[in-house]
């Protein structure tokens, strides 16, 4: 069975409108597809596990998980948008990619390398990602296609590269992926090395949240301490989706998505300012928007 691509599905709609669909539409498509045949293009992705994974992505969009010790956090973070606002487009793309080994998503044409096709479904020791072959496929397809300057030294996939520079996502690449794939307006402050010049971080974030979605490019050890080294390299290494900020006494309660779930953490304004290197503001394009 051949599934329409998001482009085909959106045919007739305004080309410069962010495609939107509902969870019910995506589930209806999965129900209609039922069981599918083993793909010759993805020998290590079992069709039943693939469909089960897609269903879980659609039914529990917060559950998408980048895996332990991988560099897939950027790809998992941007998945927040299609899984919440266009799951039909996501499912359509994934099924077409599985069946035909190539597909179009937004303005990007994907034809992954043989190494990626062999590698998907074989990632292990990553926690729940081990049993989510469709998510492995999705992350690896994105990492294989989109390249930034961090990927120059490791442009081709070899086993184990999911933990290395092959999968790394710099700030500009993250923004480019969202624009290309999902057709959102994306604006960002900050960089891969220097923090944004935002005086009142709480004020800035809460204002931006009122008008769109926010992804933050943060220094992960600042958020989750993993060692006690006194000399730390202050660079951003992790993407999160900020869901809410709230002042609680002298602290700021940040609710964000990462690692397959929502987290609420109390941070001092100083720490928040120190860990945020990039603030990505994402808004929908609509035909009637100015």
């Amino acid at each position: 069975m051949v599934v329409a691509t998001p482009l085909e599905a959106a045919a007739g709609a305004n080309a410069d409108t962010t495609p939107m669909s509902t969870q019910a539409q995506a589930i209806a498509l999965l129900d209609k597809l039922g069981t599918i045949q083993q793909s010759p293009h993805w020998p290590n992705v079992h069709p039943a596990a693939f469909m089960q994974n897609l269903r879980k992505d659609v039914e529990q969009p917060f559950s998408i998980y980048e895996g332990r010790s991988t560099n897939f956090c950027g790809y998992a973070a941007l998945s927040f948008l299609p899984l919440h606002y266009d799951p039909l487009g996501f499912v359509g793309f994934m099924v077409k990619m599985y069946q035909e080994g190539k597909a179009v998503y937004g303005k990007a044409y994907f034809e992954p390398s043989k190494e990626v096709k062999r590698g998907a479904g074989r990632l292990v020791f990553k926690g729940e990602l081990d049993i989510r072959p469709a998510d492995q496929m999705w992350f690896m397809v994105l990492a294989d296609h989109f390249k930034g300057y961090l990927n120059i030294f490791d442009p081709h996939y070899n086993p184990g590269d999911e933990n290395r520079l092959w999968a790394a996502v710099n700030l500009a690449k993250f923004c480019r992926m969202i624009r290309t794939l999902f057709n959102y307006n994306v604006s960002a402050v900050g960089s891969d090395l220097f923090r944004p010049g935002v005086r009142d971080m709480y004020e800035y974030l809460s204002e931006r949240l009122k008008t769109g979605h926010l992804a933050l490019f943060v220094n992960n050890p600042g958020l989750y301490r993993k060692d006690h080294h006194k000399l730390k390299v202050g660079v951003p290494t992790h993407y999160i989706i900020l869901l809410n900020v709230e002042e609680m006494g002298d602290r700021i309660a940040c609710t964000y998505w990462d690692y397959g779930g929502r987290t609420m953490q109390l941070l001092s304004p100083d720490i928040l300012k120190r860990i945020v290197f990039g603030i990505i503001h994402i808004t929908r394009k609509s035909a009637d928007a100015q």
Binding site: V124, D130, K226, H229, T263, M264
Partner: protein
């Protein structure tokens, strides 16, 4: 004058060498056997408490007076920082129905310099299993400019399989070495493994 300089240099090098040996002393399987009873108690009590309300616990300072408590509810993970004897800790425990035995766990962890305890999931033949992950901090003086190392222990509910070098394997029929947090683990007992890592979680 010159020979005196060489003598001083030789003494300093010897002191550095001895110092580096001292910091590694804790990182041996002896640690497990010396503290086996407390470690086993912690593992069992943590598993029991986790079953009632999932959480993880971290000591955030070298003096073991401050903790970070991660409480996992159905919809969100909450991360709070406390001083060990702070009243706010008790209030939060009551609010989220955390068992009172956590106080005892905190004291036990402190007594063996365990700075992090968590439950991790791993998969064998597509089946989800869990392990208890504990990190021990070496509080002895260590050399400046050398990264701190942590002694990591993992406790399994099932018997594990190892190769001839004592490395943890992915399963009975899988000769592949299992990695946890990208680290190779070594056998202590059939259900307990260790590694030495630059990261405690």
């Amino acid at each position: 004058m010159r020979s005196r300089y060489y003598h001083i240099m030789a003494v300093c090098c010897a002191a550095l060498l001895l110092g580096s040996c001292a910091t590694r002393k804790i990182f041996s399987t002896n640690y497990y056997h010396q503290n086996e009873k407390v470690l086993t108690d912690i593992e069992h009590s943590y598993r029991a408490m986790y079953g009632k309300r999932p959480f993880s616990l971290e000591f955030t300072d070298k003096s073991f007076n401050n903790i970070s408590l991660e409480i996992i509810t159905d919809s969100v993970k909450l991360i709070y920082d406390f001083e060990v004897h702070e009243a706010r800790l008790q209030d939060t425990m009551q609010k989220y129905r955390l068992p009172a035995e956590i106080h005892q766990l905190i004291e036990q962890m402190k007594s063996i310099r365990c700075i992090w305890i968590n439950m991790l999931d791993y998969y064998t033949n597509n089946r989800r299993e869990t392990l208890v992950f504990m990190s021990i901090r070496n509080v002895a003086i260590h050399l400046p400019f050398t990264p701190e190392k942590y002694y990591i222990l993992t406790f399994y509910a099932q018997l594990q399989y190892y190769d001839s070098e004592g490395r943890l394997l992915a399963g009975r029929n899988l000769r592949r070495v299992r990695k946890i947090n990208d680290e190779i683990f070594m056998r202590i007992t059939d259900k307990v493994c260790y590694t030495i890592s630059g990261r405690f979680r």
